[in-house]
Amino acid sequence: MLCAILASIGLNAQTVKNFELKDIENSTRTFADLKGEKLTVIDFWATWCKPCNKAIPELNKIYESYKEKGVEIIGINCDGPRSVSKVAPLSKTLQIKYPVLIDINSDIKNELNLMAFPTLILVNPEGKIVWIHEGYVTGDSQIIIAEIEKHLN
Protein backbone atom coordinates (compact mmCIF):
# COMPACT_ATOMS: atom_id res chain seq x y z
CA MET A 1 0.00 0.00 0.00
CA LEU A 2 2.81 2.32 1.00
CA CYS A 3 4.70 1.62 -2.23
CA ALA A 4 1.57 2.37 -4.25
CA ILE A 5 1.09 5.71 -2.47
CA LEU A 6 4.72 6.61 -3.05
CA ALA A 7 4.55 5.63 -6.70
CA SER A 8 1.41 7.69 -7.19
CA ILE A 9 2.98 10.89 -5.90
CA GLY A 10 6.21 10.37 -7.85
CA LEU A 11 9.60 10.27 -6.18
CA ASN A 12 12.37 12.79 -6.65
CA ALA A 13 15.87 11.41 -7.16
CA GLN A 14 17.99 11.35 -4.04
CA THR A 15 20.43 14.19 -3.66
CA VAL A 16 23.96 14.14 -2.30
CA LYS A 17 24.29 17.11 0.00
CA ASN A 18 27.61 18.72 0.69
CA PHE A 19 29.56 16.73 3.27
CA GLU A 20 32.88 17.02 5.02
CA LEU A 21 35.25 14.13 5.75
CA LYS A 22 38.94 13.61 6.38
CA ASP A 23 41.04 12.00 3.67
CA ILE A 24 43.86 9.50 4.20
CA GLU A 25 46.32 12.39 4.53
CA ASN A 26 44.28 13.70 7.51
CA SER A 27 43.14 16.76 5.54
CA THR A 28 39.49 17.83 5.65
CA ARG A 29 37.77 17.62 2.24
CA THR A 30 34.27 18.52 1.15
CA PHE A 31 32.06 17.09 -1.58
CA ALA A 32 31.74 20.59 -3.06
CA ASP A 33 35.53 20.75 -3.55
CA LEU A 34 35.87 17.25 -4.99
CA LYS A 35 32.82 16.83 -7.22
CA GLY A 36 33.20 16.61 -10.97
CA GLU A 37 32.16 19.33 -13.36
CA LYS A 38 29.89 16.95 -15.31
CA LEU A 39 29.63 13.79 -13.22
CA THR A 40 30.89 12.43 -9.93
CA VAL A 41 31.40 8.74 -9.22
CA ILE A 42 31.36 7.83 -5.52
CA ASP A 43 32.62 4.40 -4.53
CA PHE A 44 31.64 3.19 -1.03
CA TRP A 45 34.13 0.51 -0.02
CA ALA A 46 35.88 -1.23 2.89
CA THR A 47 39.29 -2.92 3.17
CA TRP A 48 37.76 -6.26 4.26
CA CYS A 49 35.46 -6.34 1.23
CA LYS A 50 37.16 -8.38 -1.52
CA PRO A 51 34.92 -7.24 -4.41
CA CYS A 52 35.65 -3.65 -3.33
CA ASN A 53 39.40 -4.21 -3.63
CA LYS A 54 38.92 -5.95 -6.97
CA ALA A 55 37.07 -2.91 -8.34
CA ILE A 56 39.75 -0.39 -7.39
CA PRO A 57 42.27 -1.01 -10.25
CA GLU A 58 39.36 -0.72 -12.71
CA LEU A 59 38.17 2.52 -11.09
CA ASN A 60 41.73 3.84 -11.38
CA LYS A 61 41.59 3.19 -15.14
CA ILE A 62 38.18 4.86 -15.42
CA TYR A 63 39.46 7.85 -13.46
CA GLU A 64 42.45 8.29 -15.78
CA SER A 65 40.25 8.00 -18.88
CA TYR A 66 37.51 10.37 -17.75
CA LYS A 67 39.03 12.99 -15.46
CA GLU A 68 39.72 15.27 -18.44
CA LYS A 69 36.08 14.91 -19.47
CA GLY A 70 34.73 16.42 -16.25
CA VAL A 71 34.26 13.17 -14.33
CA GLU A 72 35.70 12.85 -10.81
CA ILE A 73 35.84 9.76 -8.63
CA ILE A 74 35.67 9.88 -4.83
CA GLY A 75 36.33 6.78 -2.73
CA ILE A 76 34.49 6.79 0.60
CA ASN A 77 35.93 4.17 2.89
CA CYS A 78 33.55 2.82 5.54
CA ASP A 79 35.90 0.66 7.62
CA GLY A 80 34.99 0.70 11.30
CA PRO A 81 37.44 1.12 14.20
CA ARG A 82 38.60 -2.48 13.85
CA SER A 83 40.16 -2.11 10.41
CA VAL A 84 40.35 1.61 9.66
CA SER A 85 44.11 1.66 10.33
CA LYS A 86 44.57 -0.41 7.15
CA VAL A 87 42.87 2.11 4.86
CA ALA A 88 45.83 4.44 4.25
CA PRO A 89 48.53 1.81 3.61
CA LEU A 90 46.22 -0.33 1.46
CA SER A 91 45.03 2.69 -0.54
CA LYS A 92 48.62 3.70 -1.18
CA THR A 93 49.83 0.25 -2.20
CA LEU A 94 46.83 -0.08 -4.54
CA GLN A 95 47.93 3.33 -5.83
CA ILE A 96 44.44 4.78 -5.76
CA LYS A 97 44.65 7.89 -7.90
CA TYR A 98 41.41 9.55 -6.79
CA PRO A 99 40.74 10.99 -3.30
CA VAL A 100 39.91 8.50 -0.55
CA LEU A 101 37.83 9.84 2.34
CA ILE A 102 37.29 8.08 5.65
CA ASP A 103 33.76 7.70 7.07
CA ILE A 104 34.25 5.54 10.17
CA ASN A 105 30.52 5.85 11.12
CA SER A 106 29.22 5.19 7.57
CA ASP A 107 27.26 8.44 7.97
CA ILE A 108 27.19 9.28 4.25
CA LYS A 109 26.24 5.73 3.27
CA ASN A 110 23.42 5.69 5.83
CA GLU A 111 22.30 9.16 4.80
CA LEU A 112 21.90 7.91 1.23
CA ASN A 113 20.10 4.78 2.32
CA LEU A 114 22.69 2.43 0.78
CA MET A 115 22.89 -1.14 2.01
CA ALA A 116 25.82 -3.03 0.44
CA PHE A 117 29.57 -2.98 -0.22
CA PRO A 118 30.76 -1.98 -2.70
CA THR A 119 28.13 0.49 -3.82
CA LEU A 120 28.94 2.88 -6.60
CA ILE A 121 26.78 5.92 -7.34
CA LEU A 122 26.81 8.42 -10.20
CA VAL A 123 25.93 11.97 -9.22
CA ASN A 124 25.05 14.72 -11.69
CA PRO A 125 26.19 18.38 -11.33
CA GLU A 126 22.99 19.21 -9.42
CA GLY A 127 23.87 16.57 -6.85
CA LYS A 128 21.15 14.12 -7.92
CA ILE A 129 21.96 10.41 -7.88
CA VAL A 130 21.37 9.19 -11.42
CA TRP A 131 22.59 5.60 -11.08
CA ILE A 132 23.35 3.12 -8.28
CA HIS A 133 25.31 -0.10 -8.68
CA GLU A 134 25.79 -2.66 -5.91
CA GLY A 135 28.55 -5.29 -5.88
CA TYR A 136 31.43 -5.83 -8.25
CA VAL A 137 32.14 -8.83 -10.45
CA THR A 138 34.21 -9.41 -13.56
CA GLY A 139 32.78 -7.39 -16.42
CA ASP A 140 31.17 -4.68 -14.27
CA SER A 141 33.68 -2.04 -15.39
CA GLN A 142 32.08 -2.11 -18.87
CA ILE A 143 28.68 -1.48 -17.30
CA ILE A 144 30.08 1.42 -15.25
CA ILE A 145 31.72 2.96 -18.35
CA ALA A 146 28.49 2.59 -20.33
CA GLU A 147 26.55 4.42 -17.60
CA ILE A 148 29.15 7.22 -17.41
CA GLU A 149 28.98 7.64 -21.19
CA LYS A 150 25.17 7.62 -21.10
CA HIS A 151 25.02 10.38 -18.48
CA LEU A 152 27.81 12.42 -20.05
CA ASN A 153 25.83 12.61 -23.27
Partner: protein
Protein backbone atom coordinates in the same frame (compact mmCIF):
# COMPACT_ATOMS: atom_id res chain seq x y z
CA UNK B 1 -2.21 -1.49 16.87
CA UNK B 2 -0.91 1.63 18.57
CA UNK B 3 2.30 1.35 16.50
CA UNK B 4 0.29 1.03 13.28
CA UNK B 5 -1.63 4.22 14.07
CA UNK B 6 1.61 6.03 14.75
CA UNK B 7 3.01 4.90 11.41
CA UNK B 8 -0.07 5.95 9.46
CA UNK B 9 0.04 9.34 11.14
CA UNK B 10 3.74 9.79 10.44
CA UNK B 11 3.42 8.61 6.81
CA UNK B 12 0.44 10.94 6.24
CA UNK B 13 2.40 13.79 7.77
CA UNK B 14 5.44 13.15 5.55
CA UNK B 15 3.35 12.74 2.41
CA UNK B 16 1.47 15.99 3.03
CA UNK B 17 4.75 17.78 3.45
CA UNK B 18 6.14 16.12 0.36
CA UNK B 19 3.21 17.19 -1.77
CA UNK B 20 3.41 20.73 -0.43
CA UNK B 21 7.12 21.21 -0.64
CA UNK B 22 8.39 18.94 -3.44
CA UNK B 23 11.02 17.40 -1.29
CA UNK B 24 12.41 13.86 -1.18
CA UNK B 25 11.09 10.62 0.17
CA UNK B 26 13.23 7.53 0.07
CA UNK B 27 13.46 4.27 1.88
CA UNK B 28 14.24 0.61 1.78
CA UNK B 29 12.65 -2.64 2.76
CA UNK B 30 14.06 -6.00 3.74
CA UNK B 31 11.68 -8.95 3.79
CA UNK B 32 12.86 -12.39 4.82
CA UNK B 33 10.73 -15.52 4.83
CA UNK B 34 12.03 -18.72 6.42
CA UNK B 35 10.60 -22.19 6.46
CA UNK B 36 12.80 -24.65 8.24
CA UNK B 37 14.38 -25.99 11.39
CA UNK B 38 16.52 -24.09 13.84
CA UNK B 39 18.17 -25.55 16.97
CA UNK B 40 15.56 -26.17 19.68
CA UNK B 41 12.60 -26.44 17.30
CA UNK B 42 10.92 -29.82 17.18
CA UNK B 43 9.61 -29.26 13.65
CA UNK B 44 10.06 -26.90 10.75
CA UNK B 45 8.18 -23.60 11.14
CA UNK B 46 7.45 -20.59 8.94
CA UNK B 47 8.58 -17.15 10.02
CA UNK B 48 8.52 -13.74 8.37
CA UNK B 49 10.76 -10.81 9.25
CA UNK B 50 10.36 -7.37 7.71
CA UNK B 51 12.19 -4.10 8.20
CA UNK B 52 10.87 -1.02 6.44
CA UNK B 53 12.76 2.24 6.58
CA UNK B 54 11.22 5.48 5.34
CA UNK B 55 12.95 8.87 5.17
CA UNK B 56 11.73 12.31 4.31
CA UNK B 57 14.17 15.09 3.42
CA UNK B 58 13.46 18.76 2.91
CA UNK B 59 16.40 21.14 2.54
CA UNK B 60 18.39 20.89 5.79
CA UNK B 61 15.84 18.75 7.59
CA UNK B 62 15.36 15.02 7.57
CA UNK B 63 12.90 12.71 9.31
CA UNK B 64 12.85 8.95 9.31
CA UNK B 65 11.05 5.96 10.80
CA UNK B 66 11.83 2.24 10.87
CA UNK B 67 9.20 -0.41 11.33
CA UNK B 68 10.29 -3.92 12.31
CA UNK B 69 8.01 -6.95 12.33
CA UNK B 70 8.46 -10.61 13.10
CA UNK B 71 5.72 -13.21 12.77
CA UNK B 72 5.87 -16.91 13.62
CA UNK B 73 3.41 -19.55 14.86
CA UNK B 74 4.71 -18.92 18.41
CA UNK B 75 2.88 -15.82 19.62
CA UNK B 76 5.36 -14.73 22.34
CA UNK B 77 8.15 -14.39 19.77
CA UNK B 78 6.16 -12.03 17.53
CA UNK B 79 6.27 -8.26 17.43
CA UNK B 80 5.42 -5.22 15.30
CA UNK B 81 7.36 -2.23 16.48
CA UNK B 82 8.38 1.20 15.41
CA UNK B 83 11.97 0.48 16.36
CA UNK B 84 13.64 3.69 15.22
CA UNK B 85 12.78 7.29 14.47
CA UNK B 86 15.00 10.25 13.64
CA UNK B 87 14.64 13.99 13.24
CA UNK B 88 17.74 15.62 11.87
CA UNK B 89 18.98 19.11 10.97
CA UNK B 90 22.26 19.75 9.15
CA UNK B 91 23.92 23.03 8.29
CA UNK B 92 27.42 24.30 7.54
CA UNK B 93 28.24 24.60 11.23
CA UNK B 94 25.63 22.66 13.16
CA UNK B 95 24.21 19.14 13.00
CA UNK B 96 21.43 18.03 15.32
CA UNK B 97 19.89 14.56 15.60
CA UNK B 98 16.99 13.58 17.84
CA UNK B 99 15.82 9.98 18.02
CA UNK B 100 17.88 6.94 17.04
CA UNK B 101 21.31 7.62 15.65
CA UNK B 102 24.79 6.07 15.30
CA UNK B 103 27.80 7.73 16.88
CA UNK B 104 31.33 6.56 17.60
CA UNK B 105 33.89 8.47 19.65
CA UNK B 106 37.42 8.09 18.26
CA UNK B 107 38.19 4.45 17.56
CA UNK B 108 35.53 3.19 19.94
CA UNK B 109 37.38 3.01 23.27
CA UNK B 110 34.56 4.97 24.95
CA UNK B 111 31.62 4.61 22.60
CA UNK B 112 30.80 2.72 19.44
CA UNK B 113 27.49 2.27 17.69
CA UNK B 114 26.97 0.67 14.30
CA UNK B 115 24.67 -1.00 11.82
CA UNK B 116 25.60 -4.22 10.02
CA UNK B 117 23.86 -3.70 6.66
CA UNK B 118 21.44 -6.48 5.76
CA UNK B 119 22.29 -8.67 8.78
CA UNK B 120 19.37 -10.21 10.66
CA UNK B 121 20.04 -11.77 14.06
CA UNK B 122 18.32 -14.59 15.86
CA UNK B 123 19.24 -15.36 19.43
CA UNK B 124 18.85 -18.88 20.82
CA UNK B 125 17.10 -17.57 23.96
CA UNK B 126 14.47 -15.21 22.49
CA UNK B 127 14.07 -16.75 19.03
CA UNK B 128 12.82 -13.54 17.47
CA UNK B 129 14.61 -12.30 14.42
CA UNK B 130 15.72 -8.68 14.47
CA UNK B 131 18.02 -6.27 12.68
CA UNK B 132 21.67 -6.28 13.73
CA UNK B 133 22.58 -2.82 14.88
CA UNK B 134 23.52 -0.90 17.99
CA UNK B 135 22.06 2.58 17.87
CA UNK B 136 21.65 5.25 20.54
CA UNK B 137 18.21 6.62 21.44
CA UNK B 138 18.52 10.23 22.53
CA UNK B 139 20.02 13.31 20.95
CA UNK B 140 23.34 14.50 19.62
CA UNK B 141 24.55 17.80 18.32
CA UNK B 142 27.78 18.63 16.53
CA UNK B 143 29.23 22.08 16.07
CA UNK B 144 32.04 22.46 13.54
CA UNK B 145 33.84 25.54 12.39
CA UNK B 146 37.06 25.55 10.38
CA UNK B 147 39.49 23.23 12.18
CA UNK B 148 37.47 22.78 15.36
CA UNK B 149 34.54 20.53 16.11
CA UNK B 150 32.73 19.47 19.23
CA UNK B 151 29.82 17.12 19.76
CA UNK B 152 27.47 16.40 22.63
CA UNK B 153 25.74 13.05 22.98
CA UNK B 154 22.97 12.02 25.33
CA UNK B 155 21.15 8.75 25.02
CA UNK B 156 20.59 5.10 25.71
CA UNK B 157 22.67 2.68 23.62
CA UNK B 158 20.96 -0.49 22.45
CA UNK B 159 22.00 -3.89 23.74
CA UNK B 160 21.30 -5.80 20.52
CA UNK B 161 21.00 -9.20 22.20
CA UNK B 162 17.43 -8.31 23.17
CA UNK B 163 14.90 -8.22 20.30
CA UNK B 164 12.28 -5.46 19.91
CA UNK B 165 9.75 -7.74 21.62
CA UNK B 166 11.52 -7.01 24.92
CA UNK B 167 11.06 -3.82 26.93
CA UNK B 168 13.50 -0.91 26.71
CA UNK B 169 14.58 -1.46 30.32
CA UNK B 170 16.36 -4.62 29.08
CA UNK B 171 17.29 -3.32 25.65
CA UNK B 172 18.67 0.03 26.79
CA UNK B 173 19.90 -0.30 30.39
CA UNK B 174 22.59 2.43 30.21
CA UNK B 175 22.40 6.20 29.93
CA UNK B 176 25.40 8.00 28.49
CA UNK B 177 26.26 11.68 28.46
CA UNK B 178 29.36 12.55 26.46
CA UNK B 179 31.28 15.43 24.99
CA UNK B 180 34.00 15.06 22.37
CA UNK B 181 36.04 17.91 20.88
CA UNK B 182 38.84 17.89 18.35
CA UNK B 183 41.13 20.41 16.73
CA UNK B 184 43.13 19.92 13.53
CA UNK B 185 46.26 21.75 12.46
CA UNK B 186 48.96 20.96 9.87
CA UNK B 187 47.63 17.45 9.20
CA UNK B 188 47.53 16.70 12.94
CA UNK B 189 44.42 16.24 15.07
CA UNK B 190 44.10 16.28 18.83
CA UNK B 191 40.92 15.38 20.65
CA UNK B 192 39.51 14.88 24.12
CA UNK B 193 36.35 13.37 25.50
CA UNK B 194 34.51 12.82 28.75
CA UNK B 195 31.71 10.27 29.08
CA UNK B 196 29.45 9.63 32.05
CA UNK B 197 27.65 6.32 32.27
CA UNK B 198 24.68 5.75 34.53
CA UNK B 199 22.69 2.57 35.01
CA UNK B 200 20.75 0.91 37.81
CA UNK B 201 23.90 -0.36 39.51
CA UNK B 202 26.45 2.42 39.10
CA UNK B 203 27.59 5.75 37.76
CA UNK B 204 31.09 6.24 36.39
CA UNK B 205 33.01 8.90 34.48
CA UNK B 206 35.55 8.11 31.79
CA UNK B 207 37.94 10.41 29.94
CA UNK B 208 39.81 9.97 26.70
CA UNK B 209 42.53 11.79 24.80
CA UNK B 210 43.53 11.17 21.22
CA UNK B 211 46.20 12.36 18.80
CA UNK B 212 46.54 11.48 15.13
CA UNK B 213 48.04 12.74 11.94
CA UNK B 214 50.64 12.44 9.25
CA UNK B 215 54.26 12.93 10.24
CA UNK B 216 55.43 12.75 6.61
CA UNK B 217 53.99 11.49 3.31
CA UNK B 218 55.01 7.98 4.36
CA UNK B 219 54.20 7.89 8.10
CA UNK B 220 50.88 8.40 9.84
CA UNK B 221 49.84 7.57 13.39
CA UNK B 222 46.83 7.30 15.66
CA UNK B 223 46.85 7.11 19.46
CA UNK B 224 43.98 6.95 21.89
CA UNK B 225 43.94 6.53 25.65
CA UNK B 226 40.92 6.25 27.92
CA UNK B 227 40.45 5.81 31.66
CA UNK B 228 37.88 5.65 34.40
CA UNK B 229 38.45 8.89 36.33
CA UNK B 230 35.60 8.80 38.83
CA UNK B 231 36.74 5.88 40.94
CA UNK B 232 40.45 5.71 40.09
CA UNK B 233 43.24 8.30 39.97
CA UNK B 234 44.65 9.52 36.66
CA UNK B 235 47.95 7.77 37.36
CA UNK B 236 46.36 4.55 38.63
CA UNK B 237 47.14 1.72 36.23
CA UNK B 238 46.73 -1.07 38.79
CA UNK B 239 45.06 -4.37 37.95
CA UNK B 240 41.67 -3.05 39.18
CA UNK B 241 41.81 0.27 37.32
CA UNK B 242 39.79 0.44 34.09
CA UNK B 243 41.98 1.81 31.27
CA UNK B 244 42.54 1.33 27.55
CA UNK B 245 45.43 2.31 25.34
CA UNK B 246 45.57 2.00 21.56
CA UNK B 247 48.46 3.01 19.26
CA UNK B 248 48.61 2.60 15.50
CA UNK B 249 51.35 3.51 13.02
CA UNK B 250 51.08 3.28 9.23
CA UNK B 251 53.96 3.27 6.78
CA UNK B 252 53.64 3.50 3.00
CA UNK B 253 56.52 3.15 0.53
CA UNK B 254 55.26 3.02 -3.06
CA UNK B 255 53.92 -0.52 -3.45
CA UNK B 256 54.57 -1.47 0.17
CA UNK B 257 52.19 -0.61 3.00
CA UNK B 258 52.54 -1.49 6.67
CA UNK B 259 49.97 -1.12 9.43
CA UNK B 260 51.22 -1.75 12.99
CA UNK B 261 48.91 -1.50 16.00
CA UNK B 262 49.25 -2.19 19.72
CA UNK B 263 46.67 -2.37 22.53
CA UNK B 264 46.49 -2.64 26.29
CA UNK B 265 42.98 -2.95 27.74
CA UNK B 266 42.16 -3.56 31.39
CA UNK B 267 38.74 -3.85 32.99
CA UNK B 268 37.37 -1.73 30.16
CA UNK B 269 33.88 -2.95 29.44
CA UNK B 270 31.63 0.09 29.85
CA UNK B 271 28.08 -0.61 30.99
CA UNK B 272 26.38 -3.39 29.01
CA UNK B 273 29.01 -2.87 26.31
CA UNK B 274 28.52 0.64 24.94
CA UNK B 275 32.15 0.73 23.88
CA UNK B 276 34.16 -1.53 21.62
CA UNK B 277 37.93 -1.04 21.64
CA UNK B 278 39.64 -2.04 18.38
CA UNK B 279 40.23 -5.80 18.44
CA UNK B 280 43.54 -5.80 16.54
CA UNK B 281 42.77 -9.26 15.24
CA UNK B 282 42.33 -9.81 11.53
CA UNK B 283 38.75 -10.27 10.43
CA UNK B 284 38.89 -12.84 7.67
CA UNK B 285 36.41 -13.26 4.87
CA UNK B 286 37.31 -16.96 4.49
CA UNK B 287 34.70 -19.15 6.16
CA UNK B 288 36.99 -21.38 8.23
CA UNK B 289 39.01 -18.41 9.50
CA UNK B 290 36.08 -16.05 10.03
CA UNK B 291 34.47 -18.66 12.26
CA UNK B 292 37.69 -18.96 14.28
CA UNK B 293 38.23 -15.23 14.83
CA UNK B 294 39.60 -14.45 18.27
CA UNK B 295 37.02 -12.34 20.11
CA UNK B 296 38.42 -9.39 22.05
CA UNK B 297 38.26 -9.59 25.85
CA UNK B 298 38.19 -5.92 26.98
CA UNK B 299 38.45 -6.99 30.62
CA UNK B 300 42.06 -7.95 30.07
CA UNK B 301 43.87 -8.02 26.75
CA UNK B 302 47.24 -6.86 25.48
CA UNK B 303 48.81 -7.44 22.11
CA UNK B 304 49.63 -6.20 18.67
CA UNK B 305 48.80 -6.67 15.01
CA UNK B 306 51.09 -6.04 12.04
CA UNK B 307 49.78 -6.23 8.51
CA UNK B 308 51.94 -5.80 5.40
CA UNK B 309 50.53 -5.22 1.89
CA UNK B 310 52.59 -5.39 -1.26
CA UNK B 311 51.24 -4.71 -4.76
CA UNK B 312 53.33 -6.13 -7.62
CA UNK B 313 53.64 -4.33 -10.99
CA UNK B 314 51.08 -6.76 -12.49
CA UNK B 315 48.65 -5.61 -9.72
CA UNK B 316 48.80 -8.94 -7.89
CA UNK B 317 48.83 -8.36 -4.13
CA UNK B 318 50.47 -10.07 -1.19
CA UNK B 319 49.09 -9.62 2.33
CA UNK B 320 50.90 -10.82 5.45
CA UNK B 321 49.52 -10.54 8.97
CA UNK B 322 50.86 -11.36 12.40
CA UNK B 323 48.71 -10.99 15.50
CA UNK B 324 49.30 -11.63 19.19
CA UNK B 325 46.64 -11.22 21.88
CA UNK B 326 47.38 -12.02 25.52
CA UNK B 327 44.64 -12.50 28.11
CA UNK B 328 45.56 -12.83 31.74
CA UNK B 329 42.73 -14.14 33.91
CA UNK B 330 44.92 -15.73 36.58
CA UNK B 331 45.91 -18.13 33.83
CA UNK B 332 47.58 -16.66 30.76
CA UNK B 333 46.06 -17.31 27.33
CA UNK B 334 48.23 -16.33 24.37
CA UNK B 335 46.57 -16.21 20.96
CA UNK B 336 48.88 -15.84 17.99
CA UNK B 337 48.27 -16.02 14.28
CA UNK B 338 50.32 -15.84 11.08
CA UNK B 339 48.41 -15.26 7.86
CA UNK B 340 49.46 -14.95 4.21
CA UNK B 341 47.32 -14.29 1.14
CA UNK B 342 48.29 -13.89 -2.50
CA UNK B 343 45.81 -12.52 -5.00
CA UNK B 344 46.62 -12.54 -8.72
CA UNK B 345 45.24 -12.75 -12.25
CA UNK B 346 46.20 -15.89 -14.15
CA UNK B 347 46.69 -15.71 -17.94
CA UNK B 348 45.25 -12.18 -17.93
CA UNK B 349 41.79 -13.63 -17.39
CA UNK B 350 41.18 -15.69 -14.29
CA UNK B 351 41.24 -14.35 -10.72
CA UNK B 352 43.04 -16.54 -8.20
CA UNK B 353 43.37 -16.11 -4.45
CA UNK B 354 45.31 -18.43 -2.17
CA UNK B 355 45.78 -18.22 1.57
CA UNK B 356 47.53 -20.02 4.41
CA UNK B 357 47.19 -19.44 8.14
CA UNK B 358 48.74 -20.82 11.31
CA UNK B 359 47.36 -20.04 14.77
CA UNK B 360 47.32 -21.08 18.41
CA UNK B 361 44.08 -20.20 20.23
CA UNK B 362 44.01 -21.55 23.80
CA UNK B 363 40.77 -19.63 24.52
CA UNK B 364 38.93 -21.71 21.94
CA UNK B 365 40.99 -24.80 22.74
CA UNK B 366 42.39 -24.79 19.19
CA UNK B 367 46.03 -25.85 19.17
CA UNK B 368 48.29 -25.88 16.11
CA UNK B 369 45.51 -24.61 13.88
CA UNK B 370 46.42 -24.79 10.21
CA UNK B 371 44.12 -23.35 7.55
CA UNK B 372 44.58 -23.03 3.81
CA UNK B 373 42.49 -22.50 0.73
CA UNK B 374 42.26 -21.46 -2.88
CA UNK B 375 39.64 -19.39 -4.70
CA UNK B 376 39.41 -19.48 -8.50
CA UNK B 377 37.18 -17.30 -10.63
CA UNK B 378 37.23 -18.62 -14.19
CA UNK B 379 36.16 -15.95 -16.61
CA UNK B 380 33.77 -17.12 -19.32
CA UNK B 381 33.22 -14.57 -22.07
CA UNK B 382 33.20 -10.94 -20.93
CA UNK B 383 30.33 -10.94 -18.48
CA UNK B 384 30.18 -14.25 -16.67
CA UNK B 385 32.42 -16.45 -14.59
CA UNK B 386 32.55 -19.78 -12.81
CA UNK B 387 33.83 -19.96 -9.23
CA UNK B 388 35.50 -22.89 -7.51
CA UNK B 389 36.60 -22.41 -3.91
CA UNK B 390 38.07 -24.80 -1.38
CA UNK B 391 39.08 -24.21 2.24
CA UNK B 392 40.64 -26.62 4.70
CA UNK B 393 41.33 -26.37 8.41
CA UNK B 394 42.78 -28.69 11.02
CA UNK B 395 43.64 -28.27 14.70
CA UNK B 396 44.03 -30.22 17.90
CA UNK B 397 41.32 -29.87 20.51
CA UNK B 398 41.60 -31.79 23.78
CA UNK B 399 44.14 -34.14 22.14
CA UNK B 400 41.79 -34.92 19.26
CA UNK B 401 42.43 -33.88 15.68
CA UNK B 402 39.63 -31.82 14.14
CA UNK B 403 39.08 -31.16 10.44
CA UNK B 404 36.85 -28.64 8.65
CA UNK B 405 36.35 -28.50 4.88
CA UNK B 406 34.43 -26.02 2.75
CA UNK B 407 33.84 -26.57 -0.97
CA UNK B 408 31.92 -24.07 -3.04
CA UNK B 409 30.94 -23.92 -6.71
CA UNK B 410 29.35 -20.88 -8.26
CA UNK B 411 28.30 -19.06 -11.37
CA UNK B 412 28.04 -15.29 -11.82
CA UNK B 413 26.48 -13.36 -14.67
CA UNK B 414 27.39 -9.67 -14.45
CA UNK B 415 26.16 -8.47 -11.05
CA UNK B 416 22.67 -9.64 -11.98
CA UNK B 417 22.77 -13.31 -11.19
CA UNK B 418 24.84 -15.18 -8.61
CA UNK B 419 24.45 -18.89 -7.97
CA UNK B 420 26.42 -20.81 -5.35
CA UNK B 421 26.35 -24.31 -3.94
CA UNK B 422 28.38 -24.81 -0.78
CA UNK B 423 29.24 -27.99 1.05
CA UNK B 424 30.83 -28.03 4.51
CA UNK B 425 32.17 -30.99 6.42
CA UNK B 426 33.38 -31.16 10.02
CA UNK B 427 34.29 -33.73 12.63
CA UNK B 428 34.52 -31.17 15.45
CA UNK B 429 33.25 -32.98 18.56
CA UNK B 430 31.91 -29.68 19.96
CA UNK B 431 29.21 -29.61 17.27
CA UNK B 432 28.92 -33.10 15.81
CA UNK B 433 28.98 -35.58 18.74
CA UNK B 434 32.11 -37.26 17.40
CA UNK B 435 30.51 -37.99 14.03
CA UNK B 436 31.37 -36.36 10.75
CA UNK B 437 28.70 -33.88 9.80
CA UNK B 438 27.98 -32.25 6.45
CA UNK B 439 26.00 -29.17 5.47
CA UNK B 440 24.94 -28.60 1.87
CA UNK B 441 23.21 -25.42 0.82
CA UNK B 442 22.67 -23.42 -2.32
CA UNK B 443 21.97 -19.73 -2.85
CA UNK B 444 20.67 -17.95 -5.90
CA UNK B 445 20.55 -14.17 -6.02
CA UNK B 446 18.93 -12.23 -8.82
CA UNK B 447 19.01 -8.47 -9.15
CA UNK B 448 15.71 -7.59 -10.79
CA UNK B 449 16.80 -3.98 -11.32
CA UNK B 450 19.07 -1.54 -9.44
CA UNK B 451 16.37 -1.09 -6.78
CA UNK B 452 15.14 -4.65 -6.20
CA UNK B 453 16.79 -8.01 -5.65
CA UNK B 454 15.66 -11.46 -4.62
CA UNK B 455 17.73 -14.15 -2.91
CA UNK B 456 16.78 -17.75 -2.28
CA UNK B 457 18.64 -20.11 0.05
CA UNK B 458 17.83 -23.80 0.06
CA UNK B 459 19.48 -26.48 2.18
CA UNK B 460 21.56 -26.45 5.36
CA UNK B 461 23.62 -23.61 6.77
CA UNK B 462 26.30 -24.19 9.36
CA UNK B 463 26.02 -22.01 12.44
CA UNK B 464 28.73 -20.76 14.76
CA UNK B 465 30.44 -17.47 15.36
CA UNK B 466 30.66 -15.04 12.49
CA UNK B 467 32.31 -11.65 12.13
CA UNK B 468 31.11 -8.91 9.86
CA UNK B 469 32.24 -5.29 9.58
CA UNK B 470 34.31 -5.63 12.71
CA UNK B 471 31.59 -7.14 14.90
CA UNK B 472 31.39 -10.81 15.92
CA UNK B 473 28.14 -12.63 16.70
CA UNK B 474 26.56 -16.08 16.73
CA UNK B 475 24.68 -17.55 13.79
CA UNK B 476 22.28 -20.48 14.34
CA UNK B 477 22.33 -23.68 12.30
CA UNK B 478 19.50 -23.70 9.78
CA UNK B 479 17.90 -26.31 7.56
CA UNK B 480 15.17 -25.27 5.15
CA UNK B 481 14.32 -22.55 2.71
CA UNK B 482 14.88 -18.82 3.06
CA UNK B 483 13.67 -16.14 0.70
CA UNK B 484 14.89 -12.57 0.96
CA UNK B 485 13.59 -9.57 -0.95
CA UNK B 486 15.37 -6.24 -0.72
CA UNK B 487 13.99 -3.06 -2.22
CA UNK B 488 15.02 0.55 -2.31
CA UNK B 489 12.86 3.42 -3.43
Amino acid sequence: MRSTNKIILLVSFFLSLHAALKSQINGNNLLEYQFGELPGDSAAISTVYDRANLNYTYQNFKGGVTLEQFHSPIEKRNYTKLSQYLLQYNSEMLDVKIGNFYETIGRGLLLRSYEIPGAVLEDLSYRSRHYFHRDIAGFTTKFHHKNFSTKLIYGKPLNYVFPPSQSDSYRRPDIIEAIYSEYSFKKQTIGASVLRLTNSSKSAVYSMVTASGNLSPVISYYTEMAKNISNFGLADFSSQAPYALYVGINLSFNNLGISAEAKSYNNFLIGAGVNEPPALVKEHTYKVLNRSTHVLQPLNEKGYQIEVFYTFPDLSTLTLNNTIAINNFGKKFIFHEYFAEYDFVWRDMHDVKIFADYAEDPFKLEEQRISAGAYFEWKILQTSSLKTDYEFQTYNRLEKKVQNHVLSLGYTYKSKLVFNITSELSDDAFITNNKTKTWVGSTIKYKINPENSVQLFLGQRRGGSACNAGVCYEVLDFKGIELRLTSRF
